[in-house]
């Protein structure tokens, strides 16, 4: 048996660099947005420290090749999520943060058992050298992955968490913390050492089911943040689907999807945060016609919604196309499932956008301030990056696929 942890247990590959660059970018955006919007004085320092922890743990998970180090960063991020969700010290938010922490922690504990079983079988924590996979260990680790990367049936913590978290951190939550699970999946199971078609088929179907079911739930939700939460669960399903079916298109598609979803969802989170700040409402039934209040925000959010739905000039199009190609390559039925999930995505996003920015069902407009320029700038940058990456998508694509090895 080799040592469990060494200082040299970090490595740089294209996936790691790509992911850590993305995480740091999302983190910086989150930080600037937090600076400009979190007015409350009291314990603001805590917020920034926790934000740094989220970004740092994301980078750590992306760059290590040691499962134990990965687990430590994993738990750090759980800790940071727990603190940020309960940042506003109101009872319901504290409850939400405890709930979040409990589920994440319990799943991580189960995962740790699985990791230790792998260690005992293989004598190493380095996931390149792990070749013996015990079925029980795999299932235990999968539970941890599903909980962190909110997928049915471990997704329940996300709705209360999104409802409680400050919108500045919400972007990082959507863009960084929720990707840790799929990153572990990519590192441990897709690196060529594990062959079990039943496992991958099962995970692919879980991902598709999660995507469809939560797309349906999003279609019926009225609360802005609940809707975003369901949407996130639905989109993470696509990432997991890409990684699970693998192949040339699957892995690249999953990576592109992480990129597209992180950019778009954090932008949407800030947009929703600005809408809440401007109108004081957090429910679709009380909101309408916001295009009159801020056309700029309307256009930017249209681009971000377009990226989530997968319309061409946005990077989301390529991500979705690649994942669907990989799914159809695997089995046509899986591809049909992915298309149904995509249709749900279109339906709930069309409804969301329509009711926010158009829909004249209210007799008078809600009172609204204009959103601040700092927030608008952040959303603008995120939308612009999504757009440019969509047009010049061969840049990230070439970078990802040049990585070899996988």
């Amino acid at each position: 048996m080799t040592e469990m942890i060494g200082f040299a247990d970090f490595f740089l590959d294209r996936f790691g660099i790509f992911l850590s660059a993305l995480f740091v970018f999302i983190g910086v955006m989150s930080f600037i947005y937090a600076l400009s919007t979190v007015r409350e004085k009291g314990h603001r320092l805590e917020l920034y420290i926790m934000l740094l922890l989220i970004v740092g743990s994301g980078v750590g998970v992306a760059l290590t090749n040691n499962l134990l180090i990965m687990f430590i960063f994993w738990e750090l991020s759980t800790l940071a999520i727990w603190r940020t969700v309960g940042y506003y010290r109101e009872q319901d938010k504290i409850d939400a943060s405890s709930f979040t922490f409990l589920i994440n922690f319990a799943a991580a504990a189960v995962m740790l058992v699985g990791l230790i079983m792998l260690y005992l079988d293989n004598g190493t924590f380095n996931f390149f050298e792990i070749t013996v996979f015990n079925n029980t260990a795999v299932i235990f680790i999968l539970i941890g992955i599903l909980a962190k990367s909110v997928t049915i049936p471990m997704h329940v913590w996300l709705v209360p968490a999104y409802n409680a978290v400050p919108s500045a951190i919400g972007g990082s939550l959507a863009g960084i913390a929720e990707n840790l699970g799929v990153v572990l999946f990519l590192r441990l199971f897709t690196n060529g050492n594990y062959f079990d078609p039943t496992f991958f088929t099962t995970v692919a179907w879980i991902a598709v089911a999660s995507s469809i079911i939560m797309g349906g739930a999003a279609l019926l939700s009225n609360n802005l943040r609940t809707l975003l939460a369901y949407s996130t669960i639905s989109q993470v399903g696509f990432i997991l689907l890409g990684f699970a079916v693998g192949g040339q298109f699957g892995v690249a598609g999953g990576m592109l999807y992480i990129l597209a979803h992180a950019l778009a969802k954090s932008g949407l989170f800030y947009g929703v945060g600005m809408i809440e700040d401007a109108t004081g409402k957090d429910d679709l039934s009380g909101l309408c016609c916001l295009l009159k209040v801020s056309p700029t925000l309307g256009v930017l959010m249209a681009l971000l919604f377009g990226s989530i739905v997968g319309f061409f000039p946005m990077i989301g199009f390529w991500a979705k196309l690649w994942v669907i190609v990989s799914a159809v390559e695997y089995t046509a039925a899986l591809g049909i499932g992915a298309i149904i999930a995509a249709v749900f995505t279109l339906l709930y996003n069309a409804r969301f956008y329509h009711e926010l920015f158009f829909a004249k069902q209210l007799t008078r407009l809600p009172k609204a301030k204009r959103p601040g320029y700092a927030g608008l700038t952040i959303v603008f940058i995120l939308a612009l990056v999504s757009l440019l990456l969509g047009i010049f998508f061969y840049l990230p694509h070439t970078y990802i696929t040049g990585s070899g090895g996988y």
């Binding site: 589920i103 049915i152 049936p153 997704h155 329940v156 469809i212 079911i213 939560m214 797309g215 349906g216 739930a217 279609l219 019926l220 939700s221 040339q248 298109f249 690249a252 377009g306 739905v309 319309f311 061409f312 000039p313 199009f317 196309l321 690649w322 669907i324 190609v325 159809v328 390559e329 046509a332 591809g335 049909i336 298309i339 995509a342 249709v343 749900f344 279109l346 339906l347 069309a350 409804r351 329509h354 158009f358 829909a359 004249k360 061969y394 694509h397 070439t398 696929t401």
Partner: protein
């Protein structure tokens, strides 16, 4: 494979990039917008003419990049050049029309941005020579459609129509995407035209063709994916209607169907698919024409009519006979011409009268002679009255159906449907002409003048094109545009000789006119209206055209069926939304609820365990000593055994 450079950039880059670049600049620099837009539309027309001329003699095929095994390939043949040219012509004339009709409406800036974006994307669809590459531009069209439909007529809210359009087109785009991906996975890179046409040898190939067909039919707007067109007709300005559902979607839809049916697959080898296409076409023709007959709003009537005409194109493509395919393409061209006239002229009328309700209009012919002329020509052409262009293209489709008799014994059903549809078309066109331009004029319209120059000129040019394309059908549109762009020979076209027929018709008309002037017109019968002693004003006695054929409603179950369909009973969109909401309710309230309840019960279980153990903590010293004692014994026993 020759280079097509002009001014330092390949021609296809010009038509792709110029419109959107100018559109963006115009959007940002509002003061110079009209100059940029001029550059965009005139420039695109210029380059499209160049491409058209070049593609008469040469074929351009160039791979501009390969990513993940997908060729991003440009392919320009005669067909593409022809479609590109007409897209540019229509865009240019629509822009000319919009200059007046859309000036100073709210969101005017956005309108032009999306117009240019639509133009770029449409050019992209035609330029692309690979299905995945084509899918990109196809996708942009959804985006631009949503934006364009948000620009409503003054005082109306078009956001619901926009959402409906984007949902139907978006969903069908996903279906198309699945079809393309399915084909890609089976046979690899799908560059078209393929060298050896794909035959329907496996069910998966058939499935991918049908999925792609759905995408093309939704774009073309045939039943049952048409419902966004009538929905938008009342709230979207005439220029948008004439551009998107009226002309552009027909061009692109037929282009795409033609490519997949004859350049990638070969449906003439597979009878069931041909019958499927023909059934869709025939049903669309008849049902939508009946629906058009009973409309009370001019734009809505035209919307149903445009769906009905799309049926002819699908019918023609479905026959698999070269002559009918050429006829379908010709009908596509003709339909874009006369449907643009009808939409734009209705818009011109609306610019003066502020309404398109047939009930309110009437008798405007004397006031708006130029509009009447174009409108009348278009109405005759759409009904297939010789010698106009609509007659000739329908004739070719009929001939194809008759030729099909050798292979398929039930061909006459389709022929009857097509001819019956033609009669219905004549009926609703005449209703429209009568209701808007003939009959008695309402008093408030006595001061109406001819519409502005910019609003009349595009329709007038189109009307001239309708006449020319009809009389010189063999020489001009067929000989120069359509037959050279087909990759197969088209047999002899019937015994119809347009030139001679025109002369005979003109002679006939003159004789008729002479008889009319000598006979009836000299002795009109006048009588005064008497109703219960009340003196009726002009307004009360006014006959409007909107009740033409309303007796049809009492025909069998037609009335109920129509009321049903007005209520959205046959609307694919409603079914889609209903099904989605139903499934979503199950997902959210049953499955998601179950998972949440599972977690809650785990929580309750833990809590009750805690409550149980809390009974052990009584706070009395003797109890604790007792527990320690019992525990010690248990440990001792464990150690011993």
């Amino acid at each position: 494979m020759q280079s097509m450079e002009l001014y330092g950039l390949e021609l296809y880059y010009w038509v792709l990039l110029l419109p959107i670049a100018c559109g963006l600049l115009g959007f940002l620099i509002n003061k110079l917008r009209s100059y940029f837009d001029f550059l965009a539309f005139v420039g695109t027309l210029y380059f499209a003419v160049h491409i058209f001329v070049r593609t008469r003699t040469e074929v351009v095929s160039e791979v501009i990049g390969t990513i993940a095994g997908i060729d991003f390939r440009i392919f320009l043949d005669g067909m593409a050049g022809f479609i590109l040219l007409f897209i540019a012509i229509f865009a240019f004339l629509i822009w000319l029309y919009s200059l007046r009709s859309m000036s100073r409406v709210p969101r005017e800036r956005v309108y032009y941005l999306y117009l240019t974006l639509t133009l770029s994307a449409a050019n992209g669809v035609v330029v692309a020579g690979n299905l995945v590459f084509l899918l990109i531009f196809w996708n942009v069209l959804v985006f631009s459609l949503y934006g364009l439909f948000q620009v409503s007529r003054t005082g109306m809210d078009s956001s619901h129509a926009a959402r409906k359009a984007v949902t139907i087109i978006g969903v069908s785009d996903y279906v198309l995407m699945l079809g393309i991906v399915l084909l890609f996975v089976q046979i690899g890179n799908v560059n078209f035209p393929v060298e050896h046409k794909i035959l329907f040898t496996s069910p998966w190939l058939t499935a991918s063709f049908i999925l792609m067909l759905v995408g093309g039919l939704a774009k073309l707007g045939t039943m049952p994916l048409h419902t966004w067109i009538p929905e938008s007709a009342k709230v979207v300005p005439a220029s948008t209607l004439a551009f998107i559902p009226g002309s552009l979607d027909k061009l692109l839809g037929v282009y795409f169907l033609f490519r997949i049916s004859y350049h990638i697959f070969d449906i003439s080898s597979f009878m069931p698919l041909r019958i499927l296409l023909m059934v869709i076409g025939a049903v669309t023709i008849v049902v939508m024409a009946i629906a058009a007959l009973l409309q009370k709003d001019a734009q809505r009537l035209l919307a149903f009519s445009t769906v009905s005409q799309a049926g002819y194109m699908v019918l023609g493509l479905g026959t698999g006979m070269p002559i009918a395919i050429a006829g379908a393409l010709f009908h596509m061209l003709n339909n874009t011409l006369f449907k643009s006239i009808l939409f734009l002229s209705t818009g011109a009328v609306e610019s003066r009268t502020k309404t398109t309700e047939l009930d309110a209009l009437g008798g405007l012919g004397a006031k708006m002679p130029f509009t009447l002329f174009s409108f009348f020509v278009a109405a005759l052409a759409i009904s297939g009255v010789p010698p106009l262009n609509g007659f000739f293209s329908k004739w070719m489709i009929y001939q194809g159906l008759i030729e099909m008799g050798n292979e398929f014994s039930l061909w006459f059903i389709f022929l009857i449907c097509a001819m019956f549809g033609s009669i219905l078309t004549l009926a609703y066109s005449m209703k429209l002409v009568h209701a808007v331009f003939l009959g008695e004029r309402a008093k408030k319209f006595n001061k109406v003048r001819e519409a502005r120059f910019e609003l009349v000129v595009p329709s007038f040019l189109f009307a001239v094109a309708c006449i020319v394309f009809g009389i010189f059908a063999r020489e001009l549109p067929l000989g120069q545009l359509i037959i050279p762009s087909l990759s197969f020979p088209v047999g002899e076209i019937g015994f119809w000789i347009p030139g001679l027929a025109t002369i005979l018709i003109i002679v006939g008309l003159i004789i008729g006119l002479v008889i009319f002037l000598l006979g009836t017109a000299a002795r009109p019968r006048t009588s005064s209206v008497f109703v219960g002693g009340e003196v009726l004003g002009d307004e009360e006695g006014r006959m409007t055209g909107d009740n033409f054929y309303s007796s049809l409603r009492s025909f069998g179950m037609l009335d109920k069926t129509l009321n049903f369909s007005e209520g959205g009973a046959f609307d694919f969109y409603n079914y889609l939304r209903g099904a989605a909401a139903g499934f979503a309710a199950v997902f959210k309230n049953v499955i998601n609820r179950l998972v949440v309840v599972m977690y809650q019960s785990i929580g309750k279980l833990i809590r009750s365990l805690g409550t149980l153990t809390s009974f052990l903590h009584t706070g009395e010293l003797y109890n604790y000593v007792g527990w320690v004692f019992i525990g010690g014994i248990v440990i001792l026993l464990l150690l011993v055994f």
